[in-house]
């Protein structure tokens, strides 16, 4: 999926609902190139998704993070919890190999 816009305290609820409809997928690749801002509320949605998917042996890949978005993950110290790929091609390439 390829969300667009900002993930902050106003939009994270909608984003969470949209993500939770897809959490049953064995593999979920999220293209974040359209996201220019993530607040801590948005980060929490990704953490919940990662925990749920990991808990049931499914995989989550994030790709194409804008530098400002990647910094949010880095500064909070959460990069180790996510598989992050520079582009959607690499995300899918790794997946098919």
């Amino acid at each position: 999926m390829s969300p667009l816009g900002r993930v902050d305290s106003n939009t994270s609820g909608d984003f969470e609902r949209a993500l939770m409809t897809r959490e049953g997928e064995a593999l979920l690749v999220i293209d974040l190139s359209g996201i220019d801002y993530i607040s801590s509320a948005g980060l929490r949605v990704f953490l919940m998704l990662a925990k749920k998917m990991k808990g049931s042996g499914r995989r989550l890949v994030l790709c194409a993070l804008a530098p400002s978005v990647e910094q949010v993950f880095t500064l909070a110290g959460f990069t180790a919890l996510f598989t992050v790929k520079p582009s959607i091609d690499e995300a899918l390439g790794r997946v098919s190999s």
């Binding site: 902050d8 305290s9 607040s39 801590s40 509320a41 980060l43 929490r44 953490l47 919940m48 925990k51 880095t74 500064l75 909070a76 110290g77 959460f78 180790a80 919890l81």
Partner: protein, 423 residues
């Protein structure tokens, strides 16, 4: 002549009961009770075997049923325009059907499911005082095998106009109560958050400290803390994710744990690791809190610090303000076995530290621009030598001016401390 007299008597009786109804409905503000009263009264006044109210939901453009009598089953939702109730809702015109099974608009589906035998139907729209559709009231089977003739239509019109106004008002009242409740929750969250902050700072050996927290309206879980343990002052600034009472309680828990561990931990790294373990347990909501925590030895000026995903503070020295290099470790509450390495630095006499939460750098102006780190650093370059209260207050004013008085979107926290000058 006798027949007319009897009919007139009956009309007067029904008009009187209609008056009773209007009094009863005027009293009732709770929506569920109101619907029950309307259904009871409608069944009696119009001498029907059963009655149904369909409430209109503009969001889905459909009607949802509330039924009277023993045949009540799960609520039915019909799109506007579908079936007899849907037709009445769409056209806002009363429909009277003397013989349901002879009318093509009637669907026998409901009868099939319930075993009820519909004969006659009288159905009218319920409108708000402004003329908006509130719902539809539907009466089935005039008692005694009769049809809804005579003045039934007029009585129902009068009844429906009273009921529509009453339902509309009850809905407005419940919306207002809901808004009030949300407001109370926010206030509760703020009270929890603010009541836990320390008001007095240590002043030994010329130590200067000041902190300020401006809470956002709906989001926020910022905190700061300062406590004296032996020769050291423990201090921290944190920011819990989430909003409302949940974030406030998570913040309160973090502060409580910080105060408890500060008394027993050898350094901030151990303290953060312990707090993290506690917070990570059963944290399915994945709330987390970023914390910068440190100790200052008042006598020697040695600072030991650890950082759990929080923006690093600035060191204030005579040559200016420089961001402190900290090891990145995860915010608390997510990775149960995370470790928090400590860093060490020395504050000379007159040197200080400036701590903040991301509500400062992510403050927004009405155009949606973020304040950023450059203006913060520019501010500190100019004011790094000011006393701590001037620093914290000045920064809050600066951010406030940038936001052009708009209420903060996130909590905004600043803390400054400075060692006393050399003696």
């Amino acid at each position: 002549m006798q027949g007319h007299e009897a009919e007139l008597q009956r009309s007067v009786a029904r008009l009187n009961s209609l008056l009773d109804v209007s009094r009863a409905l005027a009293m009732e503000l709770d929506l569920e009770s109101l619907l029950r009263v309307i259904l009871e009264k409608a069944t009696v006044v119009l001498e029907a075997e059963r009655s149904t109210i369909f409430l209109y939901d503009p969001a889905v453009n459909a009607l949802t049923s509330h039924v009277s009598g023993e045949l009540s089953k799960g609520a039915v939702t019909v799109p506007l325009g579908t079936g007899i109730a849907g037709q009445v809702g769409l056209t806002r015109e009363l429909i009277s059907i003397p013989d349901a099974y002879a009318d093509s608009r009637f669907s026998p589906q409901f009868d099939k499911e319930t075993g009820f035998k519909t004969r006659s139907i009288l159905c009218a729209p319920l409108l708000s005082p402004a003329g908006d559709l509130v719902g539809v009231i539907q009466l089935l089977n005039r008692a005694g095998g009769d049809t809804f003739g005579g003045d039934s239509e007029e009585i129902l019109r009068a009844f429906a106009s009273i009921a529509g106004v009453a339902i509309d008002r009850a809905r407005l009242v419940s919306a207002a109560i809901e808004a009030k409740r949300a407001e109370e929750n926010l206030r509760l969250a703020h009270d929890i958050q603010m009541s836990m902050l320390p008001r007095v700072f240590p002043t030994e050996a010329g130590l200067d400290m000041s902190a300020a927290l401006t809470p956002a309206r709906s989001v926020g879980g910022d905190f700061y803390d300062v406590l004296r343990v032996g020769e050291r002052v423990w201090f921290a600034v944190g920011d819990a994710s989430g909003k409302g009472v949940g974030a406030a309680l998570f913040t309160a828990m973090t502060l409580t744990l910080f105060r408890a561990t500060a008394k027993i931990a050898k350094d901030p790294g151990e303290a953060l690791a312990r707090i993290n373990q506690e917070l990570s347990r059963d944290n399915d909501a994945m709330m987390f809190v970023t914390v910068f925590a440190a100790t200052l030895d008042i006598a020697t000026g040695e600072v030991v610090f650890a950082n759990a995903g929080h923006p690093p503070p600035y060191v204030l020295r005579p040559e200016g303000a420089v961001a402190l290099e900290t090891t990145v470790a995860p915010a608390l509450g997510v990775i149960e076995d995370a470790e928090y390495a400590v860093g060490r630095m020395h504050l000379g006499p007159g040197d200080g530290l400036f701590l903040y939460s991301d509500g400062v750098t992510e403050a927004q102006n009405p155009a949606g621009d973020l304040w950023g780190t450059e203006p913060l650093e520019a501010f500190l370059r100019v004011h790094f030598s000011a006393n701590c209260e001037t620093l914290t207050r000045g920064l809050v004013v600066e951010v406030d001016q940038f936001a052009a008085g708009a209420p903060p979107a996130d909590d905004l926290t600043v803390m400054a401390l400075r060692r006393g000058p050399a003696r």
